[in-house]
């Protein structure tokens, strides 16, 4: 029961005026960062690192940064739903159904469910963090290259379920996504691939530029074709609050998303993006109305949004218990702790219980604050849609261009953004669903690097994937799912021809 006492202590720390203030600041800043396309929480936290020198207490500094981190998960869904613009990598999946809901006049519903789902998932995530941190952290560590390979493979299979009507088109985009991901320096061999002498291509394409281009700009170009198309986006404002029916359908999605996000978020390198994608695929599979997915199914928003929030909570686990940062934002927080003279690791909980419990307690508070912040904002955001498209579109373009530029401070990224926008436009005209492209782009490097690392580790033997328990289980899962998928496809083919 010392967990209980620890938590009480934590709350006494988190509820001090200064910590409350910084928690709130972090939440607001995080939401803003999540809404703004391009700028991610990692970069913002990096910008604020010098601030940690001046703030005396390490707890306060970490509370601020943590707030930014999970706050951005809340904000990211806003532009995804309203404008098909993923403000954050983890919000890309929300675009798929969220934006369609907005086009049908249900933007408010989508935003509301996203906020509520995020709150539930974030809070449950923190509870899980409170109770199960150490054993879960050990589990996370046991994911080495072979396990990551197997997991990513399962994820890639999920990409196929995002294909929409044509599996062939989905597979084509999957492969193109893998190729786009291989542009740049290959980490295993050190060779530069597909750069054709262009220095900016040496670092490869950035995920957010790709996603903003294909989803957001593609949509804008498509809408520019005709004034009538643009009107469809802006005139349907409709309901603001979710109806009972929406709530009933979402609750299981939220629950599943939370579980998925929590577990995948712990794995170093896994994170919010993959969990949102897996959640989407799972929701589509278990739904009674799978044909609705891609056209505005509320589970397609509730699940992934919950998943990415749960993942952001659980990604703190490796940091607080083992001293291992799982992603860029957490790495910053790790750095801030180091600067403050605190070494994160298994002894954090015993040597600095105030930091450990203070941060956890403020995460509970932070989630509440974010819910309170975001729900009323739904009404405000929805009004944004009323801005005439002639002004809205160029402003959005400016935001995305600047956002793109600021990722690596090079103008080339603006061109890349435009290029992807044109690509996204063509995909729409040719009836491709962009989902698999994005998933493959994210998973490609993980699959390839993990496989080659595993083979280096085993001296070339493929048995390494089957002799380790976790990877064997995941490979087995992959096989089962793949066969299942093939059977379903063959049956469909059989039905339509007979």
């Amino acid at each position: 029961m010392e967990v209980f006492y620890g938590l009480i202590d934590g709350f006494t720390i988190a509820l001090t005026p200064i910590n409350l203030l910084f928690c709130f600041l972090g939440a607001v800043l995080g939401t803003a960062v999540g809404v703004l396309p391009g700028l991610g929480p990692a970069a913002t936290i990096a910008l604020l690192l010098p601030l940690t020198y001046t703030i005396a207490s390490p707890v306060t500094a970490i509370i601020l940064m943590a707030g930014i981190f999970y706050g951005s998960m809340y904000g990211g869904s806003t532009t995804s739903i309203l404008l098909n613009l993923p403000g954050e990598a983890a919000s890309v999946v929300t675009c798929i159904d969220g934006y369609q809901m907005a086009r049908k006049g249900r933007a408010g519903v989508a935003l509301g469910i996203a906020a509520i789902g995020s709150f539930i998932a974030g809070t449950v995530g923190v509870i899980g963090l409170t109770l199960f941190a150490p054993p879960i952290a050990e589990f996370a560590l046991s994911f080495g290259p072979p396990e990551k390979f197997a997991l990513a493979l399962v994820g890639l299979l999920m990409a196929v379920t995002l294909s929409g009507a044509s599996i062939i088109k989905g597979l084509i985009l999957t492969v193109i996504g893998l190729l786009l991901a291989s542009v740049g320096i290959d980490p295993i061999s050190g060779k530069t691939r597909f750069s054709f002498g262009v220095i900016e291509l040496q670092s490869g394409f950035d995920f957010v530029t790709l996603a903003m281009g294909v989803f957001g700009l593609g949509e804008i170009f498509y809408n520019l074709e005709s004034a009538a198309k643009a009107e469809i986006v802006t005139t349907r404002v409709g309901q603001i609050w979710p109806r009972k029916m929406d709530w009933v359908r979402s609750q299981w999605a939220i629950l599943r998303g939370t579980m998925i996000g929590f577990f995948i978020g712990i794995i170093p390198g896994g994170g919010a993006v993959i969990s949102s994608l897996v959640s989407y695929a799972v929701e589509k599979k278990v739904s009674r109305h799978p044909e609705e997915f891609g056209k505005g199914a509320i589970e397609g928003v509730a699940g992934p949004e919950s998943a990415n929030n749960a993942a952001s909570s659980s990604s703190f686990i490796p940091l607080l218990t083992l001293g291992i940062p799982g992603n860029a934002s957490i790495a910053m927080i790790f750095a801030a702790l180091l600067i403050k003279g605190v070494t994160p690791g298994p002894f954090l909980i015993t040597e600095h219980p105030d930091i450990f419990w203070g941060v956890i307690a403020s995460m509970y508070l932070g989630n509440v604050m974010l819910l309170v912040l975001n729900l009323p904002l739904v009404g405000v955001w929805v009004q944004l849609l009323r801005v005439p498209y002639g002004i809205l579109a160029p402003v959005v373009l400016l935001f995305t261009a600047i956002g793109s530029y600021s990722i690596q401070n090079q103008a080339f990224d603006i061109y890349a953004l435009i290029g992807f926008g044109i690509f996204g436009y063509m995909l729409r005209k040719l009836r491709f669903e962009p989902g698999p492209l994005v998933l493959a782009f994210v998973l490609g490097p993980m699959i390839e690097a993990s496989m080659r690392q595993s083979l280096l580790m085993s001296g070339g033997s493929f048995s390494i994937f089957l002799t380790r328990p976790i990877s064997m289980a995941l490979i087995g899962l992959f096989a089962v799912l793949a066969i299942g998928q093939a059977v379903v496809m063959l049956r469909k083919r059989h039905k339509t021809t007979s």
Binding site: Y53, S142, G144, Q410
Partner: protein, 325 residues
């Protein structure tokens, strides 16, 4: 009404536009100085840069602003500095890292790190530390060598990036000791240390700032430091030379550089400011908490040092026949 709105808009616009498009002149520095770190935020170079950023305002009227331009293993950001205006307002922090001293011996570079950049000051050296997991049967370098020779199996080694300072150091160790070291590269030090912490590889290499937290928490055992002398942040860890292996590298050097053509007075000013920062007790304390030793060197000696370090790496690579396949 429309006219009023228009008037207000134009007034606001003018109010903002003039300062926005204003020019700068006068003595250096008369506007903020940009420091480019060609690596991801949160890494050891970045942290050092931000520490410098913080203490810079103590000794200079204008602030230092750190921006990250990661990509291409460090080449992209560095090239940006090389091609910038040599007026002292764009600097490079992290000079001397793998891509500056190791890469030129392995592949063609779009610029020459020794000629196209002026070494202004050295701030730190991030050595390569060889570590192993706490549960590992190895307790010293000798154990690794004996095991490998007896079992005849390769020693899997986690390294940060392919052909980086860590990779070269571990590969050199393997060749000098006559054992089969298989370096498994990851996408950076953090990922490599995580994999090692999970026990998926036998040994690994990293910089003190990456491995000391794990050593302190009992997850890693330090086996050796790959420097000519012991590292001040790890005084109890013997060097490879002390353990009988004649391999020493400079690890990853971290300094400040300016594009070639920067005026001498400007370089002197920056050098002086960095010197003051490095002598500052608070700065030293901050660096100590990051497990990064402060090892200041002025512009002239640093230039000599860089030439020496590059030559040393070139020699090592040639001797051991290390290639990018």
């Amino acid at each position: 009404m429309k006219r009023v709105v228009a008037a207000i808009a134009v007034a606001l616009f003018a109010f903002v536009a003039f300062p926005a498009a204003s020019m700068a002149a006068d003595a250096y520095p008369s506007k903020p100085v940009t420091a480019v770190v060609p690596m991801a935020a949160g890494g050891s170079s970045d942290l050092m840069a931000r520490a410098i950023e913080k203490f810079w305002t103590k000794y200079s009227p204008q602030p230092l602003v750190v921006i990250n331009k990661p990509g291409g293993g460090g080449v992209v950001g560095t090239e940006g500095v090389v091609r910038s205006r040599p007026d002292g307002y764009t600097l490079y922090i992290g000079y001397g890292s793998g891509h500056d001293v190791v890469m030129p011996s392995l592949q063609k570079m779009p610029y020459d790190p020794l000629k196209d950049l002026i070494p202004v000051a050295r701030v730190s050296i991030h050595s390569v530390v060889i570590v192993t997991g706490a549960k590992s049967p190895f307790n010293s370098i000798k154990d690794i060598i004996e095991w490998s020779k007896k079992e005849g199996k390769p020693v899997t080694t986690a390294v940060s990036v392919k052909a980086g300072a860590v990779d070269i150091a571990l590969t050199a160790f393997g060749k000098a000791a006559g054992i089969n070291i298989v370096t498994v590269p990851f996408s950076g030090g953090a990922e490599a240390t995580t994999a090692l912490a999970g026990g998926h590889l036998m040994i690994g290499g990293g910089h003190p700032s990456e491995v000391i937290p794990h050593i302190k928490s009992g997850r890693f055992k330090p086996l050796a430091v790959v420097l000519p002398q012991r590292d001040p942040t790890l005084p109890n860890v013997p060097t490879l030379k002390e353990q009988g292996i004649d391999v020493a590298t400079w690890g990853s050097i971290k300094g400040v550089a300016a594009p070639a053509g920067t005026p001498k007075e400007v370089v002197k000013y920056i050098e002086g400011t960095i010197k003051k920062i490095c002598s500052d007790a608070e700065f030293q304390k901050t660096m100590a908490s990051l497990y990064q030793p402060v090892m200041y060197q002025g512009s002239e000696e640093f230039a000599k040092f860089m030439k020496q370090a590059t030559a040393d790496y070139a020699k090592l690579i040639k001797q051991l026949n290390i290639k990018l396949d």
